[in-house]
Amino acid sequence: MSRIPRMLLLLAAGLLLVAVRLPLWRVSLVAPQYPEGLGMVIDAHTVRGAKENDLGNINALNHYIGMKAIDPTAIPELRVMPWVIVGLAVFAAGGALVGRRKVAIAWLASFAALGAVGLWDFWKWEYTYGHDLDMVHAIIKVPGMTYQPPLIGSKQLLNFTATSWPASGTYVLALAFLLGVSALVVTRWMGPVATSKPARAAGASRVAVA
């Protein structure tokens, strides 16, 4: 790979490191009694209230429908997720260093797979919280009603309109992914490595290996 795609991969690695510290998803809840809204933010390592005490207040309301308290310490994936993203960053940086197209493809593939698993896992937690209700102690029981918020978009859950959207971290991750894709595209456009002007260092190392 030439210098440009390798720089793109390096940039993708940097973005991944940035994304670790950014909110990945946001669920907002608006009701007649909550014109200012309540909100939940999913970071790589935790789930927190959008405003101070929002999570506590969401849990306080959820006890009416028998939903389990949302407790970030009870979600083991949150302990793993930052390292997964950091791992992807290291992978991308490694790809930039070795400059091999196959490594970049492998990185992109694992990125896509892990992203898909992450989304599925998030959906699964939403499903669990929304369906696994304590119907013995629930105060408000609406036959057939479950309280799974949408993965993306809006949904009416009793008096609350729940709206769920990716947050800045996810957009940064998507950008990192697109940079990876671009790196491959650029590599294809520019043709074989040897004709690439700026890739002198890479070419030199290749000669040495040869």
Binding site: E36, E52, N53, G56, N57, A60, L61, Y64, I139, I140
Partner: protein
């Protein structure tokens, strides 16, 4: 206003009839009545969900409280309890707030609040605090404007009738309090007709810029007149304070007549920087007195009382240059300083003119020693040497003046029931508008400050009569909102008020609306009886005293089944609202309690004390509709005869619940 006008409406009406004749001779009442024009409704209409432009703080008068209105809508936003018990939210009833109303006379459940004063920075309201005076048992309260709550009350010793209070200096270094009623100082058993010999007035300067630390910096001993109102100088007159006085006749009976003899009474001009020098030089004598200082500890939200035992008193005889008297016609009431700080406007209740003194001339008169005489060490300046001008034929019964910052002054006329607009410097009347009826104070947002927001004027009237649907012999007092943005004043709105607003102050909502506290952080609650989670609740007995620690959260109390209490016990319910959400309050009341309910703001702990009178089971419940299951938010407390073997029990922990279940099985 110092006259109990509402109660003497007949007298006032008679007065109006009598002076009506004089007034007809004085002539020149504007033919038009300046009544509402077509667009008035849109000018006061604040659409649902929209906010008012100003917060207005009105005193409650004999209600002892402060009411908060939005302007221009005239909508009531809140009542802030200050000097009177308020069963609605347990102010002055629960253990946490009662110490605020402690005085050297013991606990006092009521007072008469007159003058709200906003704290200022550089002579402009800054939205930190509101101060207000208690007239009957002289005190000054501080209200925090991030919570709209009374946080501090200081008692004023050597004073009776704290009327000229709590006007503030431009940077809120001091608020003041002057005696409306002179009394023997120290107060002793003397014949009332020894007034001239033994009665004195005091002017008190109270440090006010440190929350929780108000203290009396010094008092100035004054001749035994009635000190009525005051205002601080500003700009060039910064460092001076002006107080009106009447009854320079020193009458002690039938003041109505006997205190209305002299053509002129006095404005006391106090150089408080000079007073500070005298204090620094040891010229102020410490005097043994007792007074209370009460303040709310922020962590526990519990008021504490401390008794103080000494105050520094300055006798003007020993501190030359601290006070001068400005002769002022006649029985002056209000004294108001214009935004530039140059003009000192007096409202001579019985005067036929509005006299305006000049600060420049005042300084020259002092330098030239243009004195008429000296009273108890206080030089009386020559009227002609200090007066800048007089507003001629302003109307009848001038009381108070506020300013629009555009060179105009607005004076309330009690007897002719109108607001008169006149020009500073030329002293010509340029407009007048009737009020309904008998206006006392008037208020322009920031109208006594360096930078008035001169868009609206509020007239606070003493007599209501036919302005609203009648409600029996007593009607709500009435206020009127007047548009002063143009050349002509225009009446926009009538609105009823709470108690008797004497004075009011207002400021743009933007100065405080975004600083509002939404809940108290439970983690920072240091109340000794706080219960931070359900599992921490419980019950303890110490002799005949029972303490119950309880939480309130949507939609239950924990514990909610309590047993083991006996007749003869005193039961303290220490309830903590563990919600951490805006406007989610809970209440607490128990059957037969001879006190008010509790109202619990999110995150705070309050205590209701209950002495059960007989055996039985008593319900308690949440009084503030908190949630969909509010009606289920209740519990029971069982009271057994004295000496009963029923065990102390509160169903908080799983263990306690198991024990309760066991106990029920056995039955």
């Amino acid at each position: 206003m110092k006259i109990p006008l509402k109660r003497s409406a007949g007298l006032a009406i008679a007065g109006i009839a009598a002076v009506g004749i004089i007034y007809a001779c004085a002539g020149q009442r504007t033919a038009t009545t300046n009544l509402v024009t077509g667009d008035a409704a849109s000018k006061v209409y604040v659409a649902p969900g929209s906010y008012d432009e100003y917060y207005a703080f009105m005193s409650g008068g004999y209600s002892g409280q402060v009411s908060v209105y939005g302007l221009p809508s005239g909508r009531l936003l809140k009542l802030i309890p200050v000097f009177s018990q308020f069963a609605e939210d347990a102010y002055g009833y629960d253990a946490e707030s009662k110490p605020l109303l402690e005085t050297t006379y013991g606990f006092i459940p009521w007072d008469d609040s007159h003058h709200p004063e906003l704290s200022m920075t550089d002579g402009v309201p800054d939205g930190r605090w509101l101060f207000i005076n208690a007239n009957n048992t002289p005190r000054i309260a501080r209200i925090d404007l991030t919570r709209f709550e009374t946080d501090e009350i200081i008692q004023i010793p050597n004073s009776a009738g704290g009327h000229a209070s709590p006007f503030t200096t431009p940077n809120t270094k001091y608020v003041v309090s002057a005696t409306r009623f002179s009394v023997p100082i120290p107060n002793t058993d003397v014949p009332i007709d020894s007034y001239k010999k033994s009665f004195k007035g005091t002017l008190s300067f109270i440090t006010a810029d440190q929350p929780g630390k108000m203290d009396i910096a010094f008092q100035i001993l004054m001749p035994g007149y009635n000190y009525d109102l005051g205002h601080a100088g500003k700009g060039p007159s910064d460092g001076w304070f002006f107080f009106t006085s009447y009854n320079s006749e020193q009458a002690n009976t039938k003041l109505e007549e006997n205190a209305s003899q002299n053509d002129k009474d006095y404005i006391a001009a106090v150089n408080y920087k000079r007073a500070e020098e005298c204090v620094a030089q040891g010229q102020a004598k410490p005097m043994a007195v007792e007074y209370f200082h009460n303040y709310v500890d922020p962590g526990s939200r519990t008021a504490k009382s401390e008794k103080k035992t000494s105050v520094k008193v300055i006798d003007p005889v020993n501190c030359a240059g601290v006070v001068y008297y400005l002769p002022t016609p006649k029985s002056p009431h209000g004294v108001d300083v214009d935004p530039t700080g140059e003009y000192i406007v007096a409202g001579g209740k019985l005067a036929t003119v509005i006299p305006v003194h000049s600060f420049t001339k005042l300084q020259k008169a002092i330098a030239d020693k243009a004195f008429d005489k000296t009273v108890d060490g206080i030089p009386v300046l020559k009227y002609d040497a200090v007066v800048a001008g007089e507003v001629q034929k302003p109307g009848l019964g001038p009381l108070h003046t506020e300013f629009d910052g555009k060179g105009f002054a607005y004076t309330s006329m009690f007897i002719s029931s109108e607001v008169v607009k006149w020009k500073l410097g030329t002293w010509e009347v340029v407009d007048r508008i009737p009020t309904y009826y008998s206006i006392g104070h008037l208020m322009i947002p920031g109208g006594d400050s360096k930078k008035p927001w001169g868009k609206y004027l509020v007239a606070m009237n003493k007599i209501t009569k036919d302005r609203y649907l009648p409600t029996g012999p007593e009607m709500a007092q009435s206020a009127q909102l007047i548009d002063i943005s143009g050349d002509k004043m225009k009446l926009l709105l009538d609105f009823p008020t709470i108690g008797e607003p004497h004075y009011a102050q207002a400021l743009p909502a933007s100065l405080i609306k975004d600083k509002q506290v939404k809940f108290h952080k439970l983690a920072e609650n240091t109340n000794p009886w706080v219960t931070k989670s359900e599992a921490d609740g419980g019950i303890t007995r110490a002799g005949k005293k029972i303490d119950i620690k309880m939480i309130a959260i949507r939609s239950h109390f924990a514990p909610d089944n309590i047993e083991g209490v006996q007749v003869g016990d005193t039961v303290n319910f220490h309830v903590t609202n563990i919600e951490q959400d805006w406007d989610i309050l809970h209440g607490f009341a128990v059957l037969g309690a001879q006190t008010s309910e509790l109202i619990l703001q999110p995150g705070e702990t309050r205590t209701l004390t209950w002495i059960p009178k007989g055996p039985g089971v008593y319900p308690f419940y949440c009084t503030d509709f908190c949630s969909a299951l509010h009606q289920e938010m209740q519990g029971y407390i069982r009271v057994s005869p004295a000496g009963s073997s029923v065990k102390l029990m509160a169903n908080v922990s799983k263990k306690a619940q198991a024990q309760l279940a066991e106990a029920q099985k056995e039955k």
